[in-house]
Structure formats: structure tokens, C-alpha cells
Symmetry: C2
Subunit: 246 residues, 2 copies
């Protein structure tokens, strides 16, 4: 399958929000056909995308682990962290390019959808100008969460805002006030701030807290019923638009 003079193909494969059955037929086929399956992982933490998709790897397929550097001691907005991460993505792209140059098809796993807040994008912008590239869209984590909650998120002429919980409280409150429906990501230790912003926007009562949507241990609760203990980074808060219609 590999070799020859033509470069291999880069495929960004969305593996969906967590339930392995929410992989698409196309993602499964891409994994069967790939010469190399690449994925990002954190040291000691494994790869969530690999856990979702691993059941569909060809026996004996080459796996390319792209292990993030250890950066816990560097603040994220300072130069040492930014330099380490930029260097890491450069290096990861070079490792993938080595396989493509050798004519191998490389499938890069991406939780959710490859082009929606995913690490795959750092490879995509570096490699897609130089190699034949295909994107296989996936079910996003937020779709997994509102499906788990059974909550119609947006309808008709609703404005939906996807907001990072890292925004300043006043900015978050203002944007929540202006949206019919909202998804707040990167909850983690921002949870108390998110709660205050929702209260200021008059939307706390409608908000839902979702952890691990579509996964075996996934669960959902009204945010007002959630205690103040720290939330995982990947928890999501939803403000469904439909509820506002009464």
C-alpha cells in the first residue's frame, strides 16, 4: 500500500463525541485503508480519540503517537509555553510529512469534528497546502452533549453562540444575554464564573450541565442542581434556545 513516487494522502478523521457507535461509516473505512494512524496524546493520559476508534484499526497498522510536551509548569499565556507548543506542532507536522513523502496514507484521529476546536488543525494548516488532503466530518462534542440531555438546542431563527468559559465574566454575561441559545465550553474551574454570568443574563434557570455526553458514564443535570465542586475541563454548559419559546 505504501511506496512509489506519489506522496500519500493526509486524512483528518473525526471520530465523534465518545460513543464509538457515533463514528461515521466513512471514518471507519478511512481507518481500514490507512497505512498509518496518528493521534495526539498527553503523557500518562493516553488518547481519548484512540479509545473511541481503536476497535476499527487494521491489525498491525502503524500507530504514530504525537505526545504533547509536559508544560504544566508554564503559564499558558507566556512565551515559554507558546514556544514549546509551536515547536511541538512543527515537529509533529514533520513526522507526519515523513510518512506522506514515503507515499503512505496517514489518518489523523480527531475527537468530535476535525476542524471544530481540534488539534488536528495545527497539522492541517501546515500540511494541506503541500499534500492531498481529505477531511472526514464528525459528530461534535456539543452535539453529543445536547443529545445526551435530550435538549433541543436551536430552532428557526435562533442565534446560537459557542463561548469559551475562559472569557471575562462581564463579556460572558453580555454575550449570553444576546444569544437565543448558547454552548459554553472549557468549563473546568470557570464554573463559578459561568454560573454568575448566566445569572446576570437571566438564563441560569434554563442552563444544563453535561459531562461526557454519549459516553458510558455520561450524565446531565440542571446547572442549578450542580454543586460547586470543580468540573472537568471538557464538561459543557448548554442554554437551549427552545426553552425561551415557552
Amino acid at each position: 500500500m505504501s511506496g512509489g513516487n506519489l506522496p500519500g494522502r493526509l486524512i483528518g478523521v473525526g471520530v465523534g463525541p465518545g460513543d464509538p457507535e457515533l463514528m461515521t461509516l466513512k471514518a471507519v473505512r478511512a481507518l481500514k485503508e490507512a497505512d498509518v494512524v496518528a493521534y495526539f496524546c498527553k503523557r500518562g493520559n493516553g488518547s481519548h480519540a484512540r479509545a473511541i476508534a481503536g476497535g476499527h484499526f487494521r491489525i498491525g497498522v502503524e500507530e504514530l503517537l504525537l505526545g504533547y510536551p509536559v508544560t504544566t509548569e508554564s503559564p499558558k499565556d507566556e512565551a515559554p509555553y507558546k514556544d514549546a507548543i509551536a515547536g511541538f506542532y512543527e515537529e509533529a507536522a514533520k513526522r507526519v510529512a515523513g510518512h506522506l513523502d514515503a507515499g503512505r496514507t496517514v489518518a489523523v484521529l480527531s475527537e468530535g469534528d476535525p476542524l471544530f476546536y481540534g488539534s488536528y488543525m495545527h497539522l492541517h494548516v501546515r500540511l494541506s497546502p503541500h499534500y492531498p488532503t481529505e477531511i472526514i466530518a464528525g459528530v461534535t462534542g456539543m452535539s453529543g452533549c445536547w443529545s445526551q440531555a435530550g435538549a433541543p438546542i436551536a430552532q428557526g431563527d435562533d442565534v446560537l453562540s459557542v463561548l469559551p468559559g475562559t472569557l471575562a465574566e462581564s463579556d460572558l454575561a453580555r454575550r449570553l444575554g444576546e444569544a437565543d441559545a448558547a454552548v459554553i465550553m472549557k468549563v473546568g474551574r470557570n464554573l463559578p464564573k459561568i454560573r454568575r454570568a448566566l445569572e446576570a443574563a437571566g438564563k441560569l434557570e434554563r442552563a444544563l450541565y453535561v459531562e461526557r455526553g454519549t459516553m458510558k458514564d455520561g450524565h446531565c443535570t440542571p446547572l442549578v442542581a450542580r454543586d460547586e465542586s470543580p468540573a472537568p475541563y471538557f464538561a459543557i454548559v448548554l442554554v437551549p434556545g427552545w426553552g425561551a419559546r415557552g
Copy 2:
């Protein structure tokens, strides 16, 4: 598979953005197991969702067509239209409930994701309080479009806004100005207005116009290169966030 005293199960099945291979494994299984497959359709226009998913129907499965009333002569914001549509959804829910009461599992097809701007929601809010209900998340139309375009849509702390092209021009321009990334839906005859709003927000150069993302005749072009001829209702305009990073 049907009969007995227990009610059947309602399943909202996301069939993805257009490419039949972007259906999930779970959606395919639900169609194999369903007693009845229901879908909305427009008279004379068929059902797009059925065209995507039809290859996976069980031979001889019962199909329940939920045909929209003809409303082209009634303005959408006036009472006769609203009454006709509300009555139609009530009636559609009753027809589905008849099958559920008889113990049959009913899979309702939904383009994209069932709870994201989909007609299925009108059944969901009426039936899910009374019957066992499951949602199978799907790849959204907008994911299909940015994948078709190969355009990283949002990253890191980006704010992403999903906006209907029906908004007033000044509102659209203001919201576009405040978002790092945007998806504009319901393009159709709103295209000239959308173009002016993007120009006012300083984002026209970055905007992409996408038709039929992931479908056989899907295509993408920079919006500035698109002529002024009318766009289909379901065309989408994307403003990728990544581009702003330079």
C-alpha cells in the same frame, strides 16, 4: 418486533449533512431495527433525509411520510401560516404516537443533527415526555460545509456565532463584528444583505460561500468571487476564525 402492551420507542436519527457515508454506525443500526421509518417531506420535492438514508432501510419497512402543508401563499410571520404549521406538527405527532402506542419502534430521520435546527424537534417536544425516546446525534450541515471547504472554523478561545441570514442587516453586522468565527445559515435571497453586513464588519475577504457541503455536487468559493445570482436556501456562508490569526 411490534405488538405487546409496552409502547414503542421514539428515535430521532441524525443522518448527517448529505454524503450517505457520513451516517453514523448507530444511525445505520437504528434503521435496521426500526419498525417504522418516518420523515418530513415537501410535496413534489421528496425528502432529502430519505435520499441520504434510504440505502439502509430494511426491505419492507413501513415508511411514514409527514408531508408539509402547502403554504407558499401565506407570509411566514402571519397567523394563517403559523396556525397551519402548528396544526401540522400536532397531527404529525399524533400519527407517530399511533405507532408508538401499538408498540412499534419509530425512527424519525433528521438531516444533520436532530436537535440542531431540525424539524424532528417539533415531534420531540410533543412526544418525548410520554414515550421512551433516544437521540442519535449526527454530523451537522455546517460541519459538512467547513469540511468541504477545508477551512478550520474555530480554535482555542474563539467565539463562534451561528447566525440566521434573516437577521436585520445592522444586527448581522454587529454580531459578525463581535465573533471570531461565524456560520451564516438561511442564505437564499439574503445573500446581498449578508455581503453588505460582512463588509461593514470588515470580514468579507475571509468569507466562504458553500453549497451542498459533502454532496456529490458540493462546492465552495470565496464569497467575493460569487456572483449576485440567487443562492439556494440551504447554502451557508462561513467566516473561519483561524484566518484572523494571520
